[in-house]
Symmetry: C2
Subunit: 546 residues, 2 copies
């Protein structure tokens, strides 16, 4: 079997059934290998889209693969790989490379930069493992090292295969599942007793669930855990969707002073926060307005448990959660139902007036709860998305890169074919990678894309001040979507929006709804951000005009 | 003066009059600084476009600047920076960064990856100098180091400014031009005597001009040099446009066995090749089919001279060319005029039949010679471009990344406002970055964009074999261009193409012409590549089907 064919056969064995990428001359043997291995591949329009699609796929399936040519191909994926690293996504980049036979020092080839290993060194900064298959006899072993590290650490990896190596025949090694990390039962037992004791003795314990719960496939077990111990459940911004939001214990998405009051109230009032797989940063702490306290927060990270000032190293999240569930059982008062909805707007009932962000939130929560798998881009589309009731939600809510959502819908569609993706994207992000809509059409996928057109980078305007530099050119998005083969319509009122949702729901193809919004219209979260920034500018006496 | 304001004031002093970029929260103080310094900026739709635009600007002006936010912004520019490194372009990336005050170790912010310096380390692999302005008192000095290295080495650099540093007041240092590198007059004299001697004693000397001639602004001097010594002039692929192609000494673009016969004949027959600033790689040697020979090639590189087996280090290209011109004077036979045109096609006169690539070449050479500044994307658009008579031509002809041409037209328009850009782009490359057309419209620029729509990645098909995986989705490009505010039309015959060129020439706005081509239609160069590949497959007995 050829090296390239073996690589894709191995990936199939590991549960990957499609890759995302673009061909290029140094990647041609990889494409041949895929075909020989019977691996499906989706050709995207541009490498950033391919990497975002593969990232979304890996978030849902536990491993995703993006494929590109050497240098000029995979270097376009660097930003997406940075995101995957920051957000703990098991994304594997496979790159073609010039033949080893064609590398005398005086003979540089196209796509090379400083030397042959420039892309490799770049990806070393952004991955847990980056290796070239420069020895055919070691290629399978090297690949196992990279993909093993990706799966183990839930972080990206990079594997580079020269064209001649890709075509060489090898004896395919027989490999199985990756070994589970060994867990010290005594350490686990000690940690569980400590956590259980803290939960049982607390007056207002709460479960704070983060993205690690999804990475380890623990959503269903978390439900049991919350029910067993009688815990209300708050999720982090990046963790939105890891806990079913229709569940009676659900208490909202936490974003500190910038988020809704319910989640904040529950978390702030708790005397024992059981944090599971939460990646805490500025955004995920509501810009450091959480009341994080080592005395009351038990941090079950992906690979360790931290309680007060001590650490249990090498305890994987899944082992801890499972053991904790088994150890549970507490007679408890029923957990109250929490009201997490957005305050109604006065205009909500006026269907013929200008459509507003809050009306969109209400309408989606009314008709679409759990009908769709949401994926949100960064901007007010994301803040709007955080208000939606759903148990399937993806967004780069930690790294916060723009341009994610449309390409991610590709990966979502193929990883979860039973759930129709619903894309929330602003005009700024759509202008970056929105043409990947063409790939959705080509693959006959049927996401609904809600393009929130407020005419500019309004998140930046909320952070800064009204300013012409945040204006975006006004594209005719509906015409463009149709020119790429999608169905599309433009809406300006609530009534039109309702009708469009209905049409989109009945359509079996990629469907774009352009919602034209007032420039000053804001979601509740963005309104709070704007108010905070305005107050802070007023306090510091800064008065700048455009 | 604030640090950010000083940076852009300094760039104005160095001749930069516009930057290209996208705002983002960590870049807001940079945008304020630009505004205060009176620097114009162009907001692109996506960072890859901004970097390509800045690269094109820097190719023509000697320094170009792309601006982005930390991580999620500038990491989208990595591929373009790799290209700039490979092709010796003085491109400066300026990145925002999180405030130094907000960097306690336990408080990661959005856009961060492994640690604060991940983007810095990535850019170190791709630049001659990458530095952060982490000490406000050293910020100006650090900036001078980066921009000085960029200008000196004609390679990219990266400068990162935390938000708090950007806003700090400094005493602006007074700085002038960068000092010229010192040249040892004795070494120069010795080298010149040797080169001159070789040229004068040769029977068929030839000047082989590469991109270094443009980097040092030596085109006019090269004309004099060629006339003084009576040298025919061949240009390299990446060097196309550095020598006026209407000049009687011009003998074509060299691409070895894959290029036209005239340039190959002249270079191969020469007993003394004076190579000036040529970057030799697979593409630029016609896939190693040149007759490069240390015994007969004098290599004047950008920073050294190589003759046979000895090297004169530290002799800059401009000093050598100037001194050589002054030393010249040879009574010589007149240089013959060379015929470099593409063989006529039988169908050329049949204006109503399906438009062909060769007809496009003839028509552009007939009506548009030197009327436009051409910029070509990679694919057959590039090979077609290599056949056009022009003295202004840009393409990533060494690194060979796709997606360059449409965004590059932004940089060209602003660097050379008197010359209308004419973009040659295939459907594959247009699907990557073609939406930067919107930015051209917004900036009221008037390039003509010729989109060669052959329905697929036909360069890959030429290298490989007919294969469905090279098909591209068929967009309605004309409708899309109009939806972004451009004028546009579709042509399928030569007559329609002629009429469209006429309309585009009269229009004062961004104008897209979609030329619908047969899938199998090839430029002369791509035809030769396909023939070589087919012969090589036949020889190796490989017979693969789709």
């Amino acid at each position: 079997m050829r090296v390239a064919t073996w690589v894709f056969s191995r990936l199939k064995e590991l549960g990957v059934d499609v890759t995302f990428g673009l061909p290029g001359d140094f990647a041609l043997p990889l494409y041949d290998g895929q075909a020989e291995a019977g691996m499906r591949t989706v050709t995207c329009t541009h490498e950033p889209g391919a990497a975002f699609a593969a990232d979304a796929y890996s978030r849902l399936k536990g491993l995703g693969v993006a494929l590109g040519t050497y240098g000029a191909g995979t270097l376009n994926m660097v930003n997406a790989v940075g995101m995957s690293y920051a957000e703990h996504t098991p994304l594997l980049i496979i790159s073609g490379a010039p033949s080893l036979k064609e590398r005398p020092p005086e003979r540089p080839v196209h796509h090379t930069i400083r030397d042959w290993d420039t892309p490799l060194r770049v990806f070393r900064e952004l991955t847990v493992e980056a290796r070239p298959a420069n020895d055919p006899h070691q290629a399978a072993l090297e690949f196992e090292r990279v993909v093993g590290a990706v799966v183990k650490h839930r972080r990206p990896g990079y594997f580079e295969i020269p064209t001649d190596v890709a075509r060489l025949e090898i004896d395919p090694p027989t490999l199985g599942e990756f070994p589970k990390p060994r867990v010290d039962p005594a350490a686990l037992d000690e940690a569980i007793r400590e956590i259980r004791g803290a939960l049982l003795s607390a007056r207002r314990p709460v479960l704070y669930a983060g993205v690690g719960v999804r990475r380890f496939g623990l959503s269903a077990i978390c439900v049991k855990l919350a029910e067993t111990y009688g815990l209300p459940v708050v999720v982090s911004v990046l963790g939105k969707g890891v806990f079913p939001e229709s569940h009676s214990h659900f208490a909202g998405v936490f974003m500190g002073a910038l988020g809704g009051p319910t989640a904040r109230g529950v978390l702030d009032a708790s005397d024992c926060v059981l944090s599971l797989g939460v990646l805490r940063n500025d955004v995920n702490s509501g810009f450091w307005t959480d009341r994080f306290d080592k005395a009351t927060w038990i941090e079950v990270a992906e690979d360790a448990v931290r309680i007060r000032h001590h650490v249990y190293p090498d305890l994987p999240l899944d082992a801890v959660v499972l053991a904790l569930k088994h150890a549970g059982c507490r007679a408890t008062a029923p957990v109250p139902r929490f009201e997490c909805s957005v305050p109604e707007e006065k205009e909500v009932s006026q269907g013929a007036s200008r459509l507003r962000v809050n009306q969109i939130i209400h309408e989606l929560n009314r008709v679409a709860a759990n009908r769709y798998a949401y994926v949100a881009d960064i901007g007010d589309s994301w803040f709007l998305g955080l208000e939606l009731k759903t148990d399937m939600f993806l967004a780069p809510g930690y790294y916060a890169t723009m341009g994610y959502a449309v390409p991610a819908a590709l990966g979502m569609s193929l990883a979860e074919p039973l759930r129709r993706p619903f894309v929330l994207v602003g005009d700024g992000a759509f202008q970056m990678t929105g043409c990947e809509l063409s790939t959705l059409v080509r693959e006959r996928l049927n996401p609904i894309i809600l393009l929130l057109n407020n005419g500019g980078y309004m998140m930046l305007e909320a952070l800064d001040r009204p300013c012409a530099r945040y204006d975006l050119p006004r594209w005719d998005y509906v015409t463009m979507a149709r020119a790429m083969g999608a169905e599309a319509c433009r809406v300006e009122t609530l009534d039109q929006f309702k009708a469009a949702l209905q049409r989109a729901h009945q359509a079996s193809c990629t469907f774009l709804i352009e919602a034209v919004l007032e420039r000053s219209d804001r979601s509740p979260i963005m309104k709070r951000i704007e108010d905070v920034m305005r107050a802070s500018r007023a306090a510091s006496g800064v008065s700048r005009s455009t």
